[in-house]
Assembly symmetry: C2
Homo-oligomer: 453 residues x 2
């Protein structure tokens, strides 16, 4: 098999504040106030576009997250710009990069969300993607007139109806509905305007949406849940799946499961791109890469570290002997999928409490790739060729340097191996990802060409 | 009195789709598909900034507006990009221009709106303004799980509480709350973080908002209601008031009333800027200006014209003799304020039905200024010096040409008269408008300096 027959690896840049590493803001090269600055994010987006990455992705949290304890004041994660507004600004600062953001189905109406992403999709001429999440955070609920969150099953049932309505609204206008015939005075063809008139269990929305479809037809649907409900949702609806997989073995199981579910749901599994999170530390030598990692690890405030661990794990292990093996906790079926994943990682890799702490507080149970560009490329190729991933969502540990390293070191290495684009082939996010342009549901069509616009 | 002692006239650019004139899209120079294109709006914003205008303003409608009758398909007003997303994109394309958008209090939660405008205010470094509206359109209600709109009084009561919560959320963080002290590891001072914990009649929101205040402290509050409730709301809360005033006499009454109400509410009336809408047709000669007006008027599809008139007036006058005087309709107290204004204009100016039709379908009852730059400047000066306005919200009839005329013809004329800035003095919208930076409510301070940042 020649390298050219292997698929390109998809890469997304996933900035979080000034870096995914909890101590990023304390790094001497990091502008600690970057998290609320357009200039900071514009530089990131333009760097990602210079590297021809598929997309930039922003998560969301609709509440300030600060622990109610002795560590209050010691985290930079308390502020977060609204992601669709930020992505709209970046639409004006880039021309090819995909623009993906999280919006929760829990505290909006579908018409709002359909409109947000349709607007972003028009502003960017077909580069938007929506990361569909359901909210399970009490602090968020308390900001929206609701004392407590809904049950897991109800949240997903609501999310399915929500996405149905959003996608239907996106098809309100056929692509050739707008005639704009100055001579006759006919602006649109009424036969190509479709009123939805949805009345469901959770939502009513008449429609039509007041925004035309974009060159990519509809924004890309992204999803990140790894629970049973989450995998079902991904298989039926997602076009990109973000996931936390600490090892190739775990990733391979997840990949096979979601692709098989998609096939059973009647979909082409090639149209569900699986992109595990990866935190990369790339250096000219392995030693340099490790030094970059150790520098950030040394900046973790231990009090903050234990709090972060408790939050991710759901239990407090700070009292245990740091050098003892991680305890064999009983994994009851109602354990949240993410916590289960972390504990399984600790047990299967036989980590001590301290090693577990360092792994989770640093990379939060995602793939942690430390090494030269060649070593990281080896690891990425092993995951993609080993059936664990279609690409990676890069959880850049400190910014802007970690993204510069990806673009200046890793991308050229992947290109040398024939595994990454030299130029964008099209101008839409669907084109970058090799996803089909969905035909409008109101139009009879058998052809679903892969996007090349 | 020297001209230099007279105040500068404030000017905002108010694009609507490809122009405020109903026939704008049929004009040969207008790109009929501009209404959903970032390039089109970017050019407008950059032109407004080149002219040093105070702001660009986008209204909103959360439903596609197309008449359910024989004229369906004959209007370009069916699509509208979500204004805060559009303004966020324009924040990245400009550096000084104020960015104002409409968001309704009717179908959002306050936390959403606080966050949207705080994000825009950070992205633009202090240039955002929120035009607060309450929705009264059935088509909008039907897109949001609600069959019918609330009563007028309830909408305003809800709006007051809504704005209270939004403004309180905007003060969640004191300006010096963020220490970002890399050495000590303290990112913020917990004593300068304020949790709102609002539980009111319509809303509950715990807070804090997860976005810091901007250089202008808080986004500017804009408002446009002219009813009794609307004027009360404006006097108590608005910093900019948009209004439709067809004549200086009418404008003078409105201006005096709102300023007096503001004073009675304990506010400095100078901190409420009143900006009537003005539709301008500017030419090198008066004949050329009139020709521009007549060209657009001639493009009105008569069927569309009568429908528009019926919608603005609430009654159908299409069966009347076009050359007869406009009928003396009984103005009952429950007549909506905007319709009352139009009918009063018809009677006081003794318009025929045809003249009324042409005025309303063209400029919708706003000031219609047709002439050379000197003539339009005369009219603007007469309104400002005559106590009718602090400036104008320019309802540009066809785009981009009508904005080019403002910037290339009217602005230089106003500058020659010492009535318009040559350069921006500051970088925030508050600075352009001469509005004070509100101190954070949690900080003891007597000083309220006018923004100069």
């Amino acid at each position: 098999m020649t390298t050219s027959s292997k698929p390109d690896i998809h890469l997304g840049a996933f900035p979080l504040d000034v870096g995914h590493h909890i101590a990023a803001w304390r790094h001497p090269d990091v502008p600690a106030d970057g998290g609320s600055s357009l200039d900071f994010y514009r530089r990131l987006a333009q760097t990602a576009e210079r590297g021809k990455l598929d997309m930039i992705f922003f998560g969301d949290q609709m509440a300030a997250q600060y622990p109610d304890d002795e560590t209050v004041g010691r985290t930079s994660r308390v502020t977060r710009l609204e992601p669709t507004a930020l992505l709209s600004a970046l639409a004006a600062a880039t021309t090819r990069l995909g623009l993906v953001g999280t919006v929760s189905t829990s505290y909006f109406e579908p018409f709002h969300v359909a409109r947000k992403f349709a607007t972003l999709d028009r502003l960017s001429e077909g580069r938007s993607g929506w990361n569909v999440v359901t909210s399970f955070n009490d602090r968020e609920a308390q900001n929206f007139n609701q004392g407590e969150v809904r049950t897991h099953a109800e949240r997903y049932e609501r999310a399915h109806e929500f996405v149905d309505v959003v996608q239907a609204l996106w098809d309100s206008w056929e692509d050739d509905a707008f005639l704009r015939d100055k001579a006759s005075g006919l602006f649109f063809d009424p036969a190509k305007l479709h009123v939805l008139d949805h009345r469901g269990k959770y939502f009513s929305a008449r429609g039509p949406l007041n925004i035309p479809r974009s060159p990519q037809g509809q924004p890309v649907i992204v999803q990140a849940g790894s629970s049973e409900d989450g995998r079902g949702f991904a298989a039926e609806r997602a076009e990109v799946v973000f996931t936390a997989q600490p090892s190739l073995a775990a990733a391979r199981g997840f990949y096979a499961d979601v692709k098989a579910r998609a096939e059973r749901a009647g979909r082409d599994p090639g149209h569900v791109k699986i992109m595990p999170g990866a935190m990369t530390f790339i250096g000219a030598s392995e030693a340099e890469a490790r030094e970059k990692y150790e520098q950030l690890q040394s900046l973790i405030d231990p009090e903050v570290g234990w709090i972060v661990l408790r939050r991710h794990l759901g239990i407090d292990v700070s009292g245990l002997d740091p050098d003892a093996p991680f305890p064999d906790l009983p994994l009851t079926p109602d354990f949240p999928s993410r916590q289960k994943l972390l504990i399984e990682m600790a047990l299967s890799e036989k980590l001590t409490v301290r090693q577990f702490y360092e792994r989770v507080v640093g990379a939060r149970g995602h793939l942690l790739a430390i090494g030269t560009a060649a070593q990281v490329a080896d690891q990425f190729e092993a995951w993609v060729d080993g059936g664990g991933a279609d690409g990676f969502n890069l959880m850049l540990p400190w910014l802007p340097a970690a993204l510069d390293d990806v673009v200046d070191l890793l991308v050229p290495e992947l290109r040398r191996r024939g595994r990454f684009r030299h130029e964008y082939q099209g101008s839409t996010l669907r084109s970058h990802l090799g996803l089909p342009v969905p035909s409008n549901r109101h139009v009879q069509s058998s052809a679903q060409p892969v996007a090349q616009a």
